[in-house]
């Protein structure tokens, strides 16, 4: 319980409070709101992927082999004369396994 002195002092401080109401209080500094997800990271990844897609060398091989192949060979005939032979073959007929030499040579 407060005595007379306290009441008198309380009145003094109440007056001080009253005077302080005229003081302009600065606004509370609002911190810059940060979103919970940092969107720069997924945007960066997406941009890198897109750029990579465009910059990758387009190595699409033509899977359709030519229908016909012209083979030009130089051969010697019975008289030991060289002659040029031109043959027209389908692509499959001319295909040779890259390891066929192993079968013949060993």
């Amino acid at each position: 319980m407060r005595n007379e002195t306290d009441k008198e002092l309380q009145s003094f401080f109440d007056q001080l409070k009253e005077n302080d109401r005229e003081i302009q209080i600065p606004a509370f500094p609002e911190p810059a709101k940060q979103s919970s997800i940092n969107w720069w990271i997924p945007i960066g990844i997406a941009a890198s992927l897109t750029l990579g897609f465009f910059l990758l060398p387009q190595n699409k091989k033509d899977l359709n082999p030519p229908a016909e192949v012209i083979i030009i060979t130089l051969e010697k005939d019975e008289n030991n004369n060289q002659q040029i032979l031109i043959e027209e073959k389908t692509y499959l007929e001319t295909w040779e396994s890259p390891t066929s030499s192993l079968l013949t040579e060993y």
Partner: protein
């Protein structure tokens, strides 16, 4: 979650915090604003951490008081307000009899305890926490401050 909660409470206490900052800065508005900015910065940067050992208000007042003294110390106006002996103060009231002038004429610890109790409705225990002093010491400052301020209030009333 805790950060958001603390921000909400700080917002609620902002007005009171500003007045306390002003009172710790010898009623200097500009310095009070700077001090409060520094306090919020300390809290934001995690240099001042609320550990839930006391009320937020008590903790905030403590940070403000400490920061205000740091700033005053930097300016070299007073080496340390805490170290000034009470004996250095005169018994006569100041010529300027405004509320602020009367309070300013009191020794700083007495002024602070009286302001916290009568202006900010805090208990002596809370004052002890803010000022990091023993409750007995706070009671001494409280009694001396009350006695002196009452004398001055009466004197200035008679002189008028």
């Amino acid at each position: 979650m805790k950060k958001h909660w603390l921000e909400t409470i700080l917002k609620e206490l902002h007005s009171e915090a500003y007045h306390w900052s002003r009172q710790c800065c010898s009623f200097d508005d500009d310095r009070a604003k700077d001090v409060l900015q520094l306090v919020y910065l300390k809290i934001l940067e995690g240099k001042a951490v609320y550990k839930e050992k006391s009320q937020v208000k008590t903790w905030l007042f403590s940070v403000i008081r400490f920061t205000a003294y740091e700033e005053i110390k930097k300016e070299g106006k007073n080496s340390s307000l805490d170290q000034l002996p009470d004996m250095a103060y005169e018994d006569d009231p100041p010529e300027n009899d405004s509320h602020e002038a009367l309070l300013q004429a009191l020794p700083d610890r007495q002024k602070e305890v009286l302001l916290m109790v009568f202006y900010h409705d805090m208990t002596l225990e809370q004052c002890a926490e803010v000022m990091n002093l023993h409750i007995g010491t706070i009671r001494t400052h409280y009694d001396r401050g009350k006695k002196k301020l009452k004398e001055w209030i009466e004197k200035t009333r008679i002189e008028k």
